[in-house]
Symmetry: C2
Subunit: 188 residues, 2 copies
DNA sequence: GTCTATAAGCAGATAGAC
DNA sequence: GTCTATCTGCTTATAGAC
């Protein structure tokens, strides 16, 4: 794998785990055994440019991964629950959040850097679009599919944050358990 | 008002608006016209101790405020929607988040500082307890009241984050609109 | 394209006068 | 209890050799 991709992959993981400001450039470089010269060659605008590259990479990876999950599972409900299971598994084995989430980066950077905010916005848009399309095929109207997709995203991201706060996987498990109550009874 | 309280109030606002790391000690001191000596006199452990004091203050303020809202409104649904309205109003007038939320601080600090994580955890616990108690009086079982309180918290915090990302109040409005669908049909 | 060494600036924290 | 001046360490970023 080339140096540039290596840097992006390493940085993505670290940013997701610890946030943006809590990870120093030196730490990233040490973790992937790359020097400062190489970083500023590939990313002239430094750390923030690297972050945006990470978000773009994450966008592609997440889109492919979620589309795959939605192919495997017949219903939106099952697909979403499978995604949540993956997040819980991540949290239990690694103790940190590395999957379909990057809300920490939003919280930290959205008010401070406009390009970063836009990259994050694009990412959520893509995820919600996948949910939304699937819901439409299940008989939801465009409008309620859109609302439901937004709600699922908000619930998952919020639950993730509560898991982090409580050091527990209960919030995500609870959301997963409750999802059927809203997804049922609204079809068509 | 004494210097200590002034520092806490000023810092609370700035932390909520821009996060923890994006606000420098100097910025806080300048904003409330206090010097470094005074800060380290009142908070020997510096910035992090100040943050924890902010979270404790926020805890009291939020608890009082929410309890008040719950007294004014007969049902949980109306109370929560009134809270969301307040958040939306905040977002529209000031462009930043300053109300019943501090998820940015969680995202930034929970993995890094244990005392901060605990202070945040306590805060969410209190908020959820108020929701939960109210739901029980409305006929919910202990268990489903607990789950519902958690879900409402997750939804609101997640929606808040999406509002920040999209620079729009739509996510919060959508959540507020959809809440009745889960709060109905589960009573008793 | 990658290296090392160094710069320049700012963060949080401290010491000691008043 | 509050002030000013100062310190240390760490941050990102650059310059120039290879």
């Amino acid at each position: 794998m080339d140096t540039k991709s290596l840097m992006i992959d390493t940085a993505t993981l670290l940013f997701q785990q610890k946030g943006y400001k809590n990870v120093g450039v030196n730490e990233i470089l040490k973790a992937c055994n790359v020097t400062k010269g190489a970083l500023y060659h590939h990313f002239p605008n430094g750390k923030e440019e690297l972050l945006i590259a990470c978000l773009k990479g994450l966008n592609e990876a997440i889109t492919i991964d979620i589309e795959d999950i939605f192919k495997k599972h017949p219903s939106t409900l099952e697909a979403i629950q499978s995604m949540i299971d993956k997040l819980i598994h991540n949290l239990e084995t690694e103790g940190t959040i590395t999957g379909y989430t990057f809300s920490s980066i939003v919280s930290e950077m959205a008010t401070v850097s406009e390009p970063v905010r836009q990259a994050c916005s694009l990412l959520y848009e893509n995820m919600e679009r996948i949910y939304c399309d699937k819901l439409v095929t299940e008989g939801y109207s465009q409008e309620s599919a859109f609302e439901m997709a937004l709600w699922m995203t908000a619930s998952i991201e919020g639950a993730m944050m509560l898991c982090l706060t409580q050091k527990s996987t209960t919030p995500l498990k609870t959301i997963s358990k409750l999802l059927p109550t809203i997804l049922k009874g609204r079809t068509s």
